[in-house]
Amino acid sequence: MSNGNMNLTLKVWRQKNAESKGAFVTYKAENISPDMSFLEMLDVVNEGLIHTGGEPIHFDHDCREGICGMCSLYINGHPHGPKNAITTCQLHMRTFHDGEIIVIEPWRAAAFPVIKDLAVDRSSFDRIQQAGGFVSVNTGGVPDANEIPIPKVIADEAFNSATCIGCGACVAACKNASAMLFVSAKVTQLGMLPQGQPERYSRVQAMVAQMDAEGFGNCTNTGACEAECPKEIKMTNISRMNNDYFSAKLFGQEELHEHASGE
């Protein structure tokens, strides 16, 4: 088109709710500016659907700047689309060309049931974090922030793991729907820092147990998670988690965990 805008064909997964069966439905996305984000393109399609009495396509999104982890979408066979190291909300239409067919699906994993259309339920991720993804300190009564020096390289590495946004792309990318990259990112962040040492071994056991209970698959070292992670979380986190996990099991590190009853 003369103004650089594009016409596209979308094949979108529509599913009324968790109980019903879904199917692909084809839509036209017309006069799309290359400066639009992918979600803005869907906004335009949805506005059109509302005007013509249709039902808008449902997808999760919120911050639209790549940090909240709410947006998802499996686009042309890739979580968060074809570009590396970005979320769907940061994917811009200039990545596509006029006349292209774009296939859009939800994350597909047993532990992420579809809520509606392209939105899935990722509360399993929260439950894994609740099982142990914390340092057990109450508000107040903690030492001065500079009391324990932490080597910069350690702090930086912990930060790299801590940048996980909990979007679930790693699970969506994995043929086994494994959540190992997600879980290991938190285990590594806290396991590297001095503040996380007291619960290092109980944490890893609790989080892995919850991960298994949620029905996530195992890791077979395919590496798709790392390749698709929008925050470039590395598989070395998984090695580190396995190391801590086996140490805990082999050397009989006890599960010293707070329980509601023992408050």
Binding site: N17, L39, E65, C68, I115, A119, T139, G140, P143, A155
Partner: protein, 644 residues
């Protein structure tokens, strides 16, 4: 009505400790007899929910997102202030207090701001103990950087993702309490009303965003940590879901709304590219540590840049106007946000704007890259540069960023006293949701500080005093007020679903945003505001006739959610305009063209306007009633703010 903020008497530095001692306590065995509702799980909500649960209260926490970790605090970039003076550069609690009062253009309370500065140091300790990976120096100690409106380095940061790391810290504390059974978490659940019994808040009404079920929840107190209302402008740096609904419903139940016109327009955002745009993206203020803001000296050069005939790096040094450094030699590029924004607008109004639309100035890193090397710049700001590149398709390592002001934060909010209590007993407001600490302009890196101060270190004390006063008798879930309020919520949902007109809710929202930006944005006049009031009233009337809301209640229905939120923005917008009209002075982010100094800075009128405007709802389509809280400056001398 004159409002009492309940600021404790006595010397500034002793107010909070004296007050804490005077507050009643709830004994440990009784705490478990109280239920506390916390709405919102951002920094304020999550830290409050976790801290109160640790103390032993039963907490019910609510968020509309799919997980508490998604709250928009996550997107805060630059950092968090604290008066640690780790840099030995002259910082102190008093200096942070003073900078904040001055930065807010003398429109905040001394007592609150001092307390904020005082507890700021505890926040950093708490976050480090939780495992928040702040930036560190090679010796292993914490690093700091500078932010606008201050001449010391007191900002703690985690690359350009400080909000994310702090929120994940609070989220982890919250998770621990969920695991222990002390917090019951309700996700994808939106609060739609407050229930009051005999004038006290006793619960809320919510709607499930999965199946539409409308439910009531009881609590001895209700805490709102529901964020700001910047999305009234449609385009802002807020998340798409950020909304005013919880605060607005509380307002309509009697809670005063304070200083609604105080809006922060952040100077460094990526400019608008077209009508399709759904949000604006901030480029952190921390970039002004190393980036230099400039515009071409002449309109002729600006025109060539706009046409793309030349690129920024081809503009000779002599042809550049580093206007912040020129006008404000002491603070330079680190003037406060309101000052930086107004100056960028001046450049554009002068015909010297750049970029395709002409609505931009440059933020240039060439000097910093030359001085420090590309790697050092990448280490500090890499994620921001990447984000800029993704959005604009331009490499900021090679060409300067194009930036323009955008709505970012709202200093106004629910009126609260020193205890963070609204004027409805039992209803509290924390974080951006309240109006309390930033006056007419918030300094950079102070939002995170305030959210966490309120949640970790203020509410755990002040709430106990109220709970001890009312006693632990359970709230009667069968009181007719619950059913009555629930039915009112359902009636409103049905009214929205009955709208089968021709214009989408999004289109109304965009129209409202245009009105707000044009007349209640960076420059305001009596004439423009009067016009805006009429336009908003007409738009609101049209919304309730001609909007389209598709779908039903009993399903996932974002169109319905959006409709309710936009309906509330259409009411709030008018109140903002009323407030801006009433306040004939300029102060901080509120700039009335009629009130400026000869140099074009905001000119306050302390004699007539040194007060907090707390608006009282007075029925649908009725003018709201103005209540004043006089600001009493005991310790700081009011002067014309200067950053020269």
């Amino acid at each position: 009505m004159s409002l009492d903020a309940k600021i404790p008497k006595g010397p500034l530095a002793e107010k909070w400790s004296t007050h804490k001692f005077n507050l009643k306590l709830v004994n440990p065995a009784n705490k478990r007899k109280y239920d506390v509702i916390v709405v919102g799980t951002g920094l304020a909500g999550a830290s409050a929910a976790a801290s109160l649960a640790e103390l032993g209260y039963n907490v019910k926490a609510f968020c509309f997102q799919d997980s508490p970790r998604r709250a928009h605090s996550i997107a805060a970039q630059g950092g968090i202030n604290a008066a640690k003076n780790y840099q030995n550069d002259g910082d102190s609690v008093y200096r942070l207090f003073y900078d904040t009062i001055k930065g807010g253009d003398y429109r905040s309370r001394e007592g609150n701001v001092y307390r904020l500065a005082e507890v700021s140091v505890n926040i950093i300790d708490q976050c480090v103990a939780q495992g928040v990976p702040f930036a560190r120096e090679y010796g292993g100690l914490l690093d700091n950087r500078s932010f606008g409106g201050s001449q010391v380095s007191r900002t703690f940061y985690a690359r350009g993702q400080t909000g994310q790391q702090l929120l994940l810290g609070a989220y982890s504390a919250l998770n621990r309490q969920i695991h222990l059974g002390k917090v019951k978490m309700y996700t994808r659940t939106e609060m739609l009303d407050v229930v009051t019994i005999d004038g006290q808040a006793k619960g809320i009404v919510t709607r499930s965003l999965i199946n539409g079920e409308v439910e009531t929840h009881t609590g001895h107190a209700v805490l709102l940590g529901t964020g700001g209302y910047g999305n009234v402008f449609y385009l802002s740096t807020n998340a798409i879901g950020s909304n005013v609904t919880a605060a607005w419903r509380a307002h309509k139940r009697g809670a005063f709304f304070a200083n609604p016109c105080y809006t922060q327009i952040h100077p460094t955002c990526i400019p608008v590219t077209g009508d399709h745009q759904s949000k604006l993206t901030l480029m952190s203020e921390s970039l002004r540590n190393d980036g230099r803001v400039w515009a071409p000296k002449t309109i002729a050069i600006a025109e060539q840049l706009r046409k793309g005939a030349i690129k920024a790096d081809q503009v000779k040094e002599d042809d550049r106007d580093y206007f912040l450094e020129r006008k404000y030699p002491s603070f330079g590029n680190l003037v406060p946000r309101d000052v930086a924004s107004r100056n960028a607008k001046e450049m554009v109004d002068d015909g010297r704007g750049v970029g395709g639309s002409g609505f931009a100035v440059f933020l240039d890193f060439a000097d910093a890259i030359h001085r420090l090397g590309k790697d050092a710049v990448a280490a500090k700001y890499g994620n921001l540069f990447d984000m800029y590149y993704q959005i604009t398709d331009e490499d900021p390592y090679k060409q300067p960023m194009r930036i323009y002001p955008a709505v970012h934060y709202t200093m106004g909010g629910l009126w609260v006293d020193y205890n963070l209590s609204t004027n409805i007993p039992g209803l509290y407001a924390l974080g951006e949701c309240n109006f309390s600490d930033h006056g007419a302009n918030r300094l950079g890196a102070s939002a995170l500080m305030q959210g966490l101060a309120d949640g970790y270190f203020v509410i755990p004390y002040t709430l106990g005093d109220y709970l001890a006063t009312i006693g632990p008798k359970p709230v009667d879930a069968n009181h007719p007020a619950f059913e009555k309020t629930k039915q009112e919520v359902i009636t409103r949902i049905n009214k929205l679903l009955a709208l089968k007109g021709t214009k989408t809710v999004n289109e109304y929202h965009r129209d409202l945003g245009h009105i707000m930006w044009e007349y209640c944005g960076m420059a305001r006049t009596a004439e423009g505001l009067t016009k805006a009031k009429g336009l908003i009233q007409a738009l609101r009337a049209d919304f309730w006739k001609n909007a389209i809301v598709v779908g039903s209640n009993e399903e996932v229905n974002p169109a319905l959610e959006r409709a309710g939120r936009v309906a509330d923005f259409l009411e709030l917008g008018e109140l903002m305009v009323d407030d801006a009209l009433m306040r004939k002075e300029s102060c901080g982010g509120h700039f009335r063209l009629e009130s400026q100094t000869p140099e074009g800075e905001a000119l306050r009128d302390d004699e007539h306007f040194a007060f907090v405007a707390a608006w009282e709802y007075n029925g649908d389509n009725q003018p709201e009633v103005l209540n004043k809280e006089i600001l009493d400056f005991e310790f700081v001398h009011l002067t014309q703010r200067s950053y020269k």
